[in-house]
Symmetry: C2
Subunit: 219 residues, 2 copies
């Protein structure tokens, strides 16, 4: 029975890693669609989000069955409960990538953002891609050194979020209401993406170290 349980816990970890890889692909493609006005790629991100939702459902069902059948306690139980939180956060990261792709699609054949914000958007895409790759790496390898990188990406996203809004509000800014709307939302999507990446990262750190102190302790 114990062997079966270990095998199932390992499948759970595999599912979370699959979700993280899916999110990583989604934000890569959504970022490229946004920067290069590639409407087909945007379309693909939007269509593929259903797959992520399906994996999340599988993870959730697996967690409930594991608890019911194995009656886990201690770290095993916490791992399962934390896995539920991680799957919810990864699903949200996929939704945010989808919203970014939708913004690119709506603007097509125009760019979703004005030239004044090109470097900021490029920076947000790069930081979000990096965060998603590191989340995948952290889930797959449990190398805690990666966690610091995710916090730093989130800081970058917070700074670019503030910078995007400051430029909108500068006296000499001349974007259209549509461009202001797009930048307002895009900056928010990227900022939330970073928040969720940090949330996932803290939960993995908690599982690996058992550190119950501070933020890491939130299940």
């Amino acid at each position: 029975m114990r062997t079966l349980f270990t095998a199932e816990m390992s499948e759970l970890a595999d599912d979370l890693a699959a979700m993280a890889r899916h999110v990583s692909t989604a934000i890569d493609q959504a970022g490229e669609a946004l920067l290069t006005k590639n409407v087909e790629l945007a379309q693909r991100v939007i269509a593929d989000d259903a797959t992520l939702d399906d994996i999340e459902e599988t993870v959730d069902e697996r967690c409930v069955l594991l608890i019911a059948q194995q009656q886990p306690v201690g770290l095993d139980l916490r791992t399962i409960i934390v896995s539920l939180r991680i799957s919810a956060a990864l699903e949200r990261m996929g939704d945010l990538a989808q919203h970014i792709a939708e913004t690119a699609r709506r603007a097509y054949p125009d760019s979703a953002f004005p030239d004044t914000h090109s470097d900021v958007v490029e920076g947000m895409v790069a930081a979000a891609k990096k965060a998603a790759q590191e989340v995948t790496e952290l889930i797959e390898d449990r190398d805690l050194n990666v966690a610091a990188g995710i916090v730093s990406d989130d800081d970058t996203l917070d700074q670019l979020h503030a910078e995007a809004y400051q430029r909108l509000l500068a006296d000499d800014f001349e974007g259209s209401p549509q461009e202001i709307l797009n930048i307002s939302l895009l900056a928010r999507y990227f900022e939330r993406f970073g928040d969720h990446a940090v949330g996932v990262s803290r939960r993995i750190v908690y599982l690996v170290t058992g550190d119950h102190s501070g933020e890491a302790a939130r299940i």
Copy 2:
């Protein structure tokens, strides 16, 4: 042992009801702060959000302990897992009320939104307040008739979200970039608030009816 378990399940329900009441107060006050430029009220919403986070933590800990100590199966286990999802959604609704209050506070002593959007913002505040009250009622009384009202409030919020953006993009719109930014974000906060209310509602319906079909089945 069984009696103790029932008592603890009932405390769990009480905690969720307390969270829902807190969210209801937060969105009431955030809405009023936004509509009447009441910066003290906005400040109170922002300060009070920590209480909601604390209750969420209590709920989460209670759920883990209940599973570990009582080894529940079947509906009891599902109730606990669903409670974790409900507490996460209520915590997010509180965050959104806080963001609305922050938007009002940042704009003070000005209004956060232009006159062109007064009726839309009033409509969003009213629908969000109604949804929060109904969520509280649903958690407290488990009267499923309330669930339809929440779906209808969410529809209203979706329509007002679209209307808010359409007005921003109308040829004769003359708001400042700051006002466009505020409306972009406010409409999104209210729309997400409605989504979470529906999510909570579906989960309660699932618990009460045991209906595993469609959306209601998502734990």
